[in-house]
């Protein structure tokens, strides 16, 4: 690199001209970032709608403890009090929530009116948040700190639903006339957003009037770094204190005391198209299931950061293992010769997408496993949005798919319904099976938590019986956390990251 000094000198000479073109954070420019107990955090997914809770950005608001809903999800997956200190079910469709005394970041009080206003806006959003897709809420202020919420049909998981980041409660000033929501300085959490710079940076300060006490860290400096290797580099170079989602290829480069693995609710599976093509034949699906070995992926593709699949729901769903139902009544797998004669050399179109680096590698391993069982395989690997329409239209025989099994309700039924019920909008496997539908419906209607979990596992067994989906691995997330940081929340649902007690040692 002989030209280096020249380049540097020349670049330095340009400083005065170019000083205006860099992304400057706000606050005191003299104080180095990270000083005074401020945390420097690198997040992976840049904001798409200026942190609107009705978009992808909602999780940022909960990860950084900016927004809260009426409820929150506890570590055991049950609904816990948040802005509502308690609640009760008046009848099958009506719930009463008692609010606690809390303040918004702009100094106004959290009242029943403001909660109703926030929920009404969520319901009226032009594209409804996913969490409201199968329910219609009507909120009413009974008095200053009591809200009743009624649903059109019985909704046993309403308290879970209200924990969704999309249903965070913001002060009146957050809601603009054109339907947009800006959470800046309008949330209720222990941290307050003071500034958002495009899709690159955000500054948060501690909210001194938080109802649950003061946060340990005095503020958070957020940088969005979409590239996983760059996030890992940032942590290794000491430029950030916390870097989320370190790619498995980079994880081994981090010091052991800075990499923390968390089982994730994300399951990678092979989805087979049951409605047409090669896998309309149940015995061929069974042959694919027997041919595919997800455990081979754990140490290779995932470098150890995954668990072999036990079903649709992995170790991150704590109750799943104890309640798992044995799968019975599966079709008999075709032998290699039968596969060859049945497919007649028809090419199996195996799709996957590039957005998650591991998926194309999985597809290549599976291709070899399937070819060994007699299939002829052709891969189609593209960017997700480039192929989603084709996927939903059933253009492929098989898809290597990475899916979050507990969606924003924190309840597994939503995932089962959209992916495997005959009316599901995300039913890529095109399952139309009355037993599966029945099992999912019965789980959806169950109000008792333990019973509901049991019924969910029964539905899982029904889905697996059809061989429409072959679970491969349960992913683990590697969070990069600097050695001098403590109290980071390692959440399988990837909903929280920084809390009250997160701080620099």
């Amino acid at each position: 690199m002989r030209p280096t000094p020249l380049g540097i000198v020349a670049a330095l000479a340009l400083i005065p001209v170019l000083a205006g073109c860099f992304v400057s954070g706000t606050g005191d420019p003299g104080a180095p970032a990270g000083s005074g107990g401020r945390l420097r955090v690198a997040l992976a997914v840049p904001p798409v709608q200026a942190l609107s809770p009705y978009s992808n950005d909602a999780t940022v608001l909960s990860k950084l403890s900016v927004a809260e809903g009426l409820t929150a999800l506890g570590e055991d997956g049950a609904a816990a009090p948040a802005l509502a200190k308690s609640w009760s079910r008046k009848d099958t469709t009506t719930w009463v929530f008692e609010l606690r005394e809390a303040k918004f970041h702009d100094g106004t009080e959290v009242t029943a009116e403001s909660v109703v206003n926030a929920l009404d806006h969520a319901g009226a959003a032009k594209t409804k948040p996913r969490v409201l897709s199968d329910v219609t809420l009507t909120a009413k202020a009974e008095d200053a700190d009591t809200v009743t919420i009624s649903t059109k049909t019985a909704d046993p998981v309403l308290p879970f639903r209200l924990a969704s980041p999309a249903l965070g409660i913001f002060s009146a000033k957050a809601y603009a006339d054109d339907g947009t929501v800006s959470p800046i300085g309008a949330g209720t959490g222990p941290f307050r957003i003071t500034n958002l710079t495009g899709k690159t940076k955000a500054t948060l300060d501690r909210f001194e009037d938080y109802w649950g006490g003061k946060a340990e860290a005095s503020g958070i400096d957020v940088t969005w770094i979409a590239d996983g290797a760059a996030r890992a580099n940032g942590l290794r170079a000491g430029e950030v204190d916390i870097a989320e989602w370190i790619p498995t290829a980079q994880a081994k480069l981090l010091d052991t005391d800075t990499r923390h693995e968390v089982p994730s609710v994300r399951t990678d599976s092979l989805v087979l198209n049951t409605a047409g093509g090669v896998f309309a034949d149940a015995s061929l699906r069974a042959a694919a299931r027997e041919a595919v070995d997800g455990s081979a992926l754990v140490d290779s593709v995932f470098g150890g950061y995954a668990d072999p699949a036990q079903g649709l729901f992995g170790p991150a769903v704590p109750w799943a293992a104890d309640k798992r139902v044995e799968v019975s009544g599966r079709a008999t797998a075709a032998t290699t010769d039968q596969v060859k004669s049945k497919t007649q050399g028809t090419t199996l179109r195996l799709a996957t997408y590039t957005n998650r680096a591991e998926l194309p590698e999985i597809a290549t391993v599976l291709q070899q496993q399937l070819e060994k069982a007699g299939f002829t395989v052709q891969q189609d690997v593209r960017e997700y949005t480039q192929m989603e329409a084709d996927l939903l239209a059933g253009e492929y025989d098989a898809l290597v798919f990475s899916r979050v099994t507990l969606l924003d309700t924190g309840d597994a039924v939503a995932y089962l319904t959209s992916d495997f019920s005959s009316t599901g909008v995300y039913n890529i496997a095109r399952v139309k099976d009355s037993a599966v539908d029945q099992a999912i419906t019965s789980a959806a209607e169950e109000g008792d938590t333990a019973q509901r979990q049991q019924k969910i596992m029964r539905a899982e067994a029904e889905v697996l019986r059809t061989d429409a989906v072959v679970p491969l691995v349960h992913e683990k997330v590697v969070q990069g956390i600097g050695a001098d940081v403590e109290g980071v929340r390692l959440d399988p649902r990837e909903r929280s990251l920084i809390g009250l007690d997160t701080r620099l040692k």
Partner: protein
């Protein structure tokens, strides 16, 4: 096409023609972009919904809501009309995804990218200067050895920018901590990305300059000046002016194009530049920012083109207009023995690699043999899936080199034809030069759907710009030289001129340019894979080998070393091989 009039002293083509060419090219491009969602089979409501929220269920009701909100049913031309109308009031509309005004986003991204490009330009100039310094120094004393290699330039130009970027970020950002490993917060965060972008570009520009300088020094005036006792500095300056005028247009597709075309480096260094903005908008089919970015890039291309044209005119002076240039032709140089040696060595190594690789299985996955370092069993090691890298390299060689050469040939022919068409196509060249390959890739997918040949087609669509710019500049200079005037006055027709004077003057330089760009072509071809263009995995291909192993650069450097080395070998071989080959061909005809 080529009129004898345009070679004469009064041959300035009317300015309006060049202007009309620019407007036509810009309009066509913007219309094509505006039609993207309607051309592609993918519903923009779905891509916009997906960009807003990854978890959102694509129910018909949700899609209808998005469609209504964006007014997608009004059709493309209403949208284009609205957008153009808004532009005249300084309003570029709001993003379909974020709902925020587009202009501030695009302006800031444009400023960031332009700053980065200027940084890369500085590095480019420095590297180009270093590469051509020796030739300039010796040439000005008429002491050039009778042969040149140019292998150093070929070596540097073959370095993939994203690999260089990863390497620099790791070494200088993480290990040494001299510069920030990512971000865009001050001049210090500019150094590494500027180096990653500028070193290969500089090698390319330097390689071309180094190639045209000897010809300039071979001109009679240079020898006369030298004999007449002019200082070597004086000779060098004058020679540089002539050589630079021919090379300057290459800055447009090589450096200015980095404003929109540095996506990979922008990602690695987390720079909020225009390349990433355009890519995200294109993937989400978010038209307002995409159109605005395209317009900004097209305007930049035209502005840079005009600036470069003006600089050339200053460099060449009135001689260009008055037909007073001397012809600069390559002296028949004998390639140095070392060049032949290098060519032979490269050929031998590549051949060994390919033959050894072809004997092995490139697709066999062995998850137990993950990321093994080179050994007797796996001479180049294994990749993350335990596949033998030597086998993948060998099996990918023919496909990679064949496709890249094919695309390059088509590009050269297109470039020459458009370059000869004169100033009318200058606008098209300028507009297309700055266009990111991904955008053309998306437009190609929209029309053809995912296909094996799609990547080649897309690259052919933009790959011609460097050659057209170069051919146009060289032809202009050639036409203004005395011997063409003489030929014309002796009654030479256009075909004769073309065959005996113009093409021989242009072709060697264009060829060298193409060879220097060969590795870039390989990488661009592979970079369109995520759109479904090109061969699907697991087919081995060098560009894919580099891209899929890039994450393992630090953990297992051998995974990229093989492919990167092979690319360098190919490039050096092509360069030195043609030097040897041309000498042989010349020898045969003069004998």
């Amino acid at each position: 096409m080529i009129s004898t009039k345009s070679t004469g002293a009064d041959a300035r083509p009317p300015r309006w023609r060049a202007g009309a060419g620019r407007v036509a090219a810009g309009t066509t491009l913007l219309t094509a972009v505006a039609l993207l969602p309607w051309l592609s089979a993918t519903d923009p409501a779905l891509t916009v919904l997906r960009a807003r929220s990854a978890d959102q269920d694509p129910t018909p009701a949700q899609l209808a809501a998005v469609r209504e909100q964006l007014g997608l049913d009004e059709g493309p031309f209403t949208h284009l009309g609205h957008w153009l109308g808004g532009l005249s009031r300084g309003d570029a509309g709001t993003s379909w995804v974020s709902g925020e005004p587009v202009l501030p986003q695009v302006t800031s991204a444009f400023a960031v990218s332009t700053t980065l490009m200027l940084g890369a330009l500085v590095v480019t100039i420095a590297v180009a200067a270093l590469i051509s310094a020796r030739t300039l120094c010796l040439g000005s004393r008429q002491a050039l050895p009778p042969g040149r290699g140019g292998t150093g330039a070929a070596f540097l130009a073959a370095l993939p920018k994203f690999l260089l970027a990863s390497l620099l970020a790791t070494v200088f950002g993480v290990w040494l901590g001299w510069f920030p490993s990512s971000g865009w917060e001050g001049p210090s965060s500019m150094v590494l990305p500027a180096l990653a972008l500028g070193v290969p570009s500089g090698a390319m520009i330097g390689g071309l300059l180094d190639h045209s300088l000897p010809a300039t020094f071979h001109e009679p005036w240079a020898r006369t000046w030298h004999a007449g006792g002019f200082s070597s500095g004086h000779v060098a300056r004058s020679a540089l002016r002539g050589a630079l005028a021919g090379v300057l247009p290459q800055l447009l597709p090589t450096v200015v194009a980095l404003v929109g075309g540095a996506v990979a480096v922008e990602k690695i260094f987390n720079i909020p530049g225009l390349g990433r903005l355009a890519l995200e908008a294109a993937i989400a089919q978010d038209l307002p920012p995409l159109q605005t970015a395209t317009l900004a890039l097209a305007l930049l291309g035209v502005a840079a083109g005009l600036l470069i044209q003006a600089m050339r005119h200053v460099l060449l002076g009135p001689a260009l207009r008055d037909g007073g240039l001397t012809a600069s032709h390559l002296p028949a140089l004998r390639p140095r023995r070392s060049t032949r040696l290098v060519a032979g060595l490269c050929a031998l190594t590549l051949l060994t690699l390919v033959v050894a690789g072809l004997l092995r299985d490139p697709l066999h996955v062995d998850t137990a043999a993950r990321l093994l370092p080179p050994s007797a069993a796996h001479p180049l090691g294994t990749d993350a899936l335990g596949r033998d890298l030597l086998a993948r390299l060998g099996h990918g060689a023919l496909r990679t080199a064949g496709l890249a050469l094919g695309v390059t040939t088509v590009s050269i022919v297109t470039g020459l034809l458009l370059g000869m068409a004169g100033r009318v196509t200058a606008g098209l060249t300028e507009v297309m030069s700055t266009l990111p390959a991904v955008l053309i890739g998306l437009l190609t997918t929209a029309v053809t759907g995912p296909s094996v040949w799609g990547a080649a087609g897309a690259v052919c669509l933009i790959g011609w710009t460097p050659y057209a710019a170069q051919a146009a500049a060289l032809l202009e200079q050639e036409r203004a030289s005395g011997h063409i005037l003489a030929s014309v006055s002796c009654g030479a027709g256009p075909t004769h001129l073309l065959r005996h004077h113009l093409l021989p003057a242009v072709l060697p330089a264009v060829l060298r340019n193409a060879l220097l760009r060969l590795p870039t072509t390989v990488l661009v071809l592979a970079s369109l894979g995520f759109l479904g263009l090109g061969e699907q995995p697991p087919t081995p291909e060098w560009g894919r080998l580099l891209a899929e192993n890039q994450p393992y650069l630090e953990l297992a450097p051998w995974t990229v070393l093989g492919a990167a080395g092979a690319l360098v070998l190919l490039s050096v071989l092509a360069m030195s091989g043609t030097a040897v080959g041309r000498r042989k061909a010349r020898g045969a005809t003069t004998r």
